[in-house]
């Protein structure tokens, strides 16, 4: 049976969600992020009130983080599903298309990316501009 994907009704719209950013997806010196980072099937986020910055930094060594609220995800047509990560971490959620939960986020990814902001916190790395390809 396919899984039932339900919005976490107990999670307030104001809940802050952290998303780790692969440094490969930082586009330029202005630290703009590619929508690729948000364009997945089940966007991986953590409710920061249910975990700590240090715990998340340990899961994604060297990666910076961005944040947005659950309300932002819902406003662009997504649901926020309670899905523990591979470590069984229950602070993890997956942001999914409300109309087609297993599908990859596309336009929604861009809208969430546009609303997301960098996290500046002592326990997580600061975002860095991309390093150029080595000339041949």
């Amino acid at each position: 049976m396919p899984p039932d994907y339900l919005d976490d009704a107990e999670l307030a719209d104001g809940a802050v969600l952290w998303h780790s950013i692969n440094p490969r997806h930082i586009k330029d010196d202005e630290l703009n992020v590619s929508s690729t980072s948000y364009s997945t099937d089940g966007l991986s986020v953590y409710v920061i009130d249910e975990t700590t910055a240090a715990a998340l930094a340990a899961k994604f060594p060297g990666w910076p983080f961005q944040w947005f609220t659950a309300g932002v995800a819902r406003a662009v047509g997504c649901i926020v599903c309670k899905e523990p990560d591979d470590d069984g971490d229950t602070s993890h959620r997956a942001v999914r298309r409300a109309s087609d939960p297993p599908a990859q986020l596309r336009g929604e990814a861009k809208r969430i990316r546009n609303a997301a902001k960098w996290i500046h916190h002592d326990d997580v790395p600061e975002p860095q501009p991309p390093s150029p390809l080595t000339p041949e």
Binding site: K27, T36, S39, S44
Partner: protein
């Protein structure tokens, strides 16, 4: 001009029209050297079909010879695809080359977002998308 492009897994020689095109090929070819799990657990490196499709897409864009274009951002996707991102003014065009080589896109203009599927894209698909992108000051 002719540009010789190489990565750890191969070399190609390609006639290019300008600097942005050569740079885009180079960034795309570099994706061949990514390991699996380069992103999150169970992520895949870009497939050969996705990379070849991205190279073809870049070639078709360059053939339009639009002076307003700059180098696209070339990003690997965790499912084995490749994304090419262009910006012009307030308009943005993201083209996703899927692991099977088909394409789809997301366009954005001052916060308005739309999306569509191209399948195995044609030169006229590329021309239509870039006509839209370039038609802004």
């Amino acid at each position: 001009m002719t540009s010789v492009l190489s990565s750890a897994n191969g070399t190609m020689t390609q006639l290019v029209r300008g600097a942005w095109e050569a740079e885009a090929y180079r960034h795309t070819l570099a994706l061949k050297d990514l390991p699996d799990n380069w992103d999150r657990p169970r992520s895949s490196k870009p497939t050969r079909q996705a990379i070849n499709s991205a190279l073809t897409f870049i070639e078709r864009v360059a053939a339009l010879d639009l002076v307003v274009l700059s180098t696209p951002f070339v990003a690997p996707m965790s499912h084995g695809g490749v994304q090419l991102e262009w910006e012009h003014g307030q308009r943005q065009l993201d083209v996703e080359l899927l692991p099977d080589g088909t394409a789809r896109f997301v366009i954005s203009d001052a916060g308005n977002v739309g999306e569509g599927d191209l399948g195995f894209f044609s030169a006229s698909d590329v021309e239509a998308l870039f006509g839209w992108l370039a038609a802004t000051p």
